[in-house]
């Protein structure tokens, strides 16, 4: 191999190494990303909106059957659960309503999952591609006579 070829090869190898180095650096430390999302308060906001929204805010005649005028125009799954004569508290907010469903075991737990998914995910309120979230229901132990339990009502990670 001639001296010129050796130097050329040397330069080429050096350039390749530098390019690989720069590529790794750009990958590890991306340049200025100007979009930041503050998610600290999101969990409180999700619970708050469930707590402050009454069934009667989004449904007409809750606690009646659909043939008796009960409907939830924007929410089909909510309608299936709310338009039921066995509903105890017709004036409940969504959070209390979920508690009623859990405690009375009136519907399978996947219905509550579907309701949360409909309100937040399917309606585009929370973009699951960007933000994962979970809602857990915990019932504490009551005076040693009743054991507490925990339900995972919704979890982005669980299909």
């Amino acid at each position: 191999m001639k001296k010129g070829q050796v130097f050329t090869l040397d330069v080429l190898i050096a350039i390749v190494i530098i390019i690989i180095g720069i590529a790794i650096l750009f990958y590890l430390y991306p340049t200025k990303d100007t979009n930041y999302y503050n998610t600290e308060r999101m969990s409180e906001d999700v619970i708050s909106v469930l707590q402050e929204t009454k069934l009667s805010d989004i449904c007409v005649n809750p606690g009646n059957t659909t043939s008796h005028g009960c409907r939830c125009q924007h929410y089909n799954t909510v309608q299936q659960l709310v338009c039921d004569e066995s509903l105890i508290n017709k004036d409940a907010d969504i959070l209390s309503f979920m508690t009623e469903l859990i405690e009375t075991r009136r519907v399978p737990s996947n219905m509550i999952h579907d309701m949360i998914k409909e309100i937040f995910v399917e309606k585009g309120v929370i973009d699951e591609k960007r933000f994962g979230f979970a809602i857990i229901y915990t019932k504490p132990t009551n005076n040693l006579t009743e054991r507490g339990y925990t339900y995972e009502l919704y979890n982005t990670e669980t299909p």
């Binding site: 050096a14 100007t34 979009n35 909106v49 989004i58 409907r71 125009q73 309606k123 585009g124």
Partner: protein, 192 residues
């Protein structure tokens, strides 16, 4: 012959040493640049006041006259939002200075350091009109009103140091259970 080999070896050694030195220099330069950039970025993003934006907005809006208090917790009163929009359509949402709390501003941020756009995203990802005039975005940025800038397809925070996007799920209460729905209230904060 021996002398020539020594010279060749010296050239190779020199070349190798220079190569290594240049490589290390560039590596240090980039490492320093990116690491420093990354650290300053993290410091910049820790703006604790951002945690209280919606809370401050609600508190400050609550000082306006009753017909304009459009937010209460997670509930937006659509009629009052319309009144508020009509009053502040052409202004920055930082313009509604609250009299008796001194210089506190509508959004709770220093207007010298931040510009803010407020809007609501509907269930089909469209932006909700806030008033019959068709305005969808409230607030001002350097290039004009948020409404005009965003409607032109521009990023409202173009030319700013940072863009911070925040949202809160809220009930859009139009006073009719058939139309009411939970939507996204959005704040885009452009940091100067």
């Amino acid at each position: 012959m021996n002398k020539m080999n020594t010279k060749k070896a010296q050239i190779f050694s020199m070349d190798l040493v220079f190569g290594i030195i240049i490589f290390i220099l560039i590596l240090l330069l980039f490492l320093g640049f990116f690491l420093f950039g990354s650290i300053t970025k993290n410091i910049k993003t820790y703006d604790y006041e951002m945690d209280y934006l919606f809370m401050n907005m609600e508190k400050n809006v609550g000082q306006l006259n009753d017909a304009m208090i459009f937010i209460h917790g997670s509930r937006i009163d659509a009629a009052r939002l319309r009144t508020f929009t009509n009053a502040y359509e052409d202004k920055s949402i930082d313009d509604f200075v609250i009299g008796y709390v001194g210089a506190a501003r509508g959004i709770g941020l220093d207007p010298a350091a931040y510009d803010v756009c407020l809007y609501f995203t509907d269930n089909d990802a469209s932006i909700i009109s806030l008033a019959p005039s068709g305005i969808k975005y409230l607030g001002n940025v350097t290039e004009g009103t948020c409404n005009s800038v965003i409607n032109q397809g521009k990023n409202p925070c173009d030319g700013y140091e940072e863009a911070i996007s925040m949202f809160k799920p809220v009930l859009m209460d139009v006073g009719n259970s058939d139309i009411n729905r939970i939507v996204q209230m959005n704040l885009v904060v452009c940091k100067k």
